[in-house]
Amino acid sequence: MVKLEDSYVPLSQLPEWSDVTPIPQDDGPHPVAPIAYTQEYAEAMDYLRAVMKARELSSRALELTEEIVWLNAGHYTAWAYRLDILKHLNVDLYSELDFLSEFAEVNPKTYQLWHHRQEIVKLLNDPSREHDFIAKLLATDSKNFHAWSYRQWVVTQFNQWDGELPYVAQLIDEDVRNNSAWNQRYFVLTRGSTQDLDRDTLRREIDYCLEKMALAPNNECPFAYCRGLLKKFGTHDDWLLIRAQLRALGGVANAGDVAAARSQYAWGLLLDTEEHLIREATEEEGLTARRAEVRRVRTNFRV
């Protein structure tokens, strides 16, 4: 065992724990991948096992769970136990939010933290602190996967769609390669894939993509986003528009010269566009038209 902190006082020396008999870890004769625990963690766990087994819902147990999750943020049963204690003791849950905000700054990528917070906010039925909390963490790491996922829950659960699009636009302005923000843009516009886009919005989004493509042609985000929108909501005219614009992005009228833009993503989207238009033509105009299209595309791509 490794002793880390000189200031560490063993629980066994604290009078408030004197009535508890700690339960040591039972690892048997052939432990698989044992860990060289710190003395602090090993002892705290011995006491945690004792109070969890007794299902003691007390404030000392609450403090112990806090100590445990600081030492092992992913301890999911300690988090579950903590939630039960909080509910039972009827403590001020806003102070739990304060603890979680502090905890998140050190452990922003712990799954349990985010789900625990979700449970607390559900109990409070008050999301008023959440946007600032999330924004602060995204300011440190604008691609924090957990923060974005949690943000989607808050926005959906409390119907806070207003203001989300300007926020996302701001993050994309700050970093056009932030795919998390692009994903959130899709999420907001489709209300979590529950709504269609109206014509004006779709055209506006295509224009938005084209602007961002021109800004950084080797950035996958606007191409993937545009393809996704077109596949789901695009009409024939929209696909024709994007074909013309992609060719223009290459600075030339011939599809084969898009390589001039040196963007594999532009190439990829243009190929998908051509393929889509061929498929559409097949369905609408029959075989003759399809043959003509294939000839035309082959010529353009010099295949």
């Binding site: 490794v2 339960i23 870890q25 039972d26 690892d27 048997g28 004769p29 052939h30 432990p31 698989v32 991948a33 044992p34 860990i35 060289a36 625990y37 710190t38 963690y41 766990m45 096992r49 969890m52 087994k53 299902r55 030492l71 092992n72 943020a73 992913g74 301890h75 999911y76 049963t77 579950a80 136990y81 939630l83 799954y111 789900h115 979700q118 449970e119 691609k143 996967f145 974005w148 996922s149 989607q152 390669r177 932030n178 795919n179 998390s180 692009w182 994903n183 899709y186 979590g192 894939s193 950035n219 996958e220 985000c221 993937a224 986003y225 393809r227 996704g228 929108l229 789901k232 990829g268």
Partner: protein, 355 residues
């Protein structure tokens, strides 16, 4: 941690690395204390892929490890909380191996641990005879959510694709799908495919390479890989391929990371598209994350860790590195270990069936 890349795959160093991890991990792994079964699976499967499991571990040691794994089984004797049966990730929650398996409300199994336990047992040469199948299958039924996804344990609201995969692999290894509503699970997977063709951990989230294999392996195990209504296959393949720079990165515009050579590579392999991977570039990246002391780091400047070491190894297996066993990508078990497991099962069946 810098060490000059070598052009060689360091077989013997990797064997020693997994042996070390199996016998003692430094305290930096404390944050993974509740996932020791998974760390163990990486070590057992790592040694198995390297072809050394039965030479570096004696039969007694393997039996001892098998017993330790079974000691983590959470049965009705431990708890009656619905959805809590299967395997716990380690003895952290309460007494496990002693006689005192008294009821403990907070000792619950976790789908990831149950999956890791079954895989480890298969690899170690067990026939799963001591697994309480009925309790596990019943638990699965409790853990599947109305949207088709799964949570890992009964106290969790963490419903995502990773646990759909664990559920599917568990059902496959136990040959019992009665705990899973397949149509709902397929619906959940479909809802997780994002506008860009990748899969998100849960509907609406950003596409994440970590769950590409979870999605397509689940579909394969459920017999829905060729179901055009289940997912857009070519979009998924294209997304996976676009995440290769040298190695693979898990999300668009992020840095390459050793583990995605498994998560995305195995996903592409399940979809029959591995021949489109640029193996030369991937190999160069992985040789740069390989460490002289054995194992692989996440990136070229990182210390090795158990997960990335195992994932790096699986990538070399999928690339056909000589001396490494072939991997079944949808199960993450070597073909050799899996076939031996099925052979043990059928011979046990012959012995037990009256003629």
């Amino acid at each position: 941690m810098q060490s000059a890349p070598t052009n060689e795959f360091l077989t013997r160093k990797h064997v020693a690395y997994f042996q070390r991890c199996l016998s003692l991990l430094p305290h930096s792994y404390q944050c993974l204390d509740s996932t020791r079964l998974t760390l163990g699976m990486f070590c057992f499967s790592g040694l198995d892929l390297l072809g050394t499991l039965t030479t570096v571990l004696s039969q007694d040691e393997r039996r001892g490890y098998i017993d330790w794994i079974y000691a983590q089984q959470v049965t009705a004797a431990v708890t009656d909380v619905p959805g809590s049966h299967g395997f716990c990730g380690g003895p952290f929650s309460g007494p496990m191996t002693s006689e005192d398996k008294a009821r403990n409300h907070y000792t619950v199994a976790n789908l990831a641990a149950t999956y890791s336990a079954l895989v480890s047992l298969v690899v170690l040469g067990d026939d799963l005879a001591r697994v309480d199948r009925h309790e596990i299958v019943t638990s699965l039924r409790h853990l599947q959510q109305p949207n088709g996804g799964f949570t890992p344990h009964p106290y969790s609201i963490e419903c995502d694709l990773r646990f759909v995969y664990c559920a599917c692999a568990i059902c496959h290894l136990l040959d019992d799908w009665s705990g899973v509503d397949k149509a709902k699970a397929v619906g959940f997977i479909r809802a997780c495919q994002q506008y860009d063709g990748g899969f998100a951990t849960a509907p609406g989230n950003e596409s994440h390479g970590g769950v590409l294999v979870s999605a397509v392996a689940s579909l394969k195990l459920m017999g829905h890989l060729d179901d055009d209504t289940a997912f857009d296959r070519s979009a998924a393949v294209a997304w996976g391929l676009r995440q290769q720079d040298r190695g693979f990165h898990g999300r668009v515009n992020k840095e390459d990371d050793t583990c995605y050579s498994y998560w995305i590579g195995a996903g592409l392999k399940v979809m029959g598209a591995y021949d489109l991977v640029n193996l030369e570039r991937q190999r160069a990246f992985l040789l740069a994350t390989q460490r002289h002391i054995g194992g692989f780091g996440k990136a070229p400047s990182d210390y090795p860790d158990t997960l990335h070491s195992y994932m790096g190894l699986t990538a070399f297996s999928m690339m056909g590195e000589p001396g490494l066993k072939e991997l079944i990508p949808e199960l993450n078990i070597s073909m050799d270990a899996y076939q031996a497991f099925r052979a043990r099962q059928s011979s046990a069946l012959c012995r037990s069936s009256p003629i």
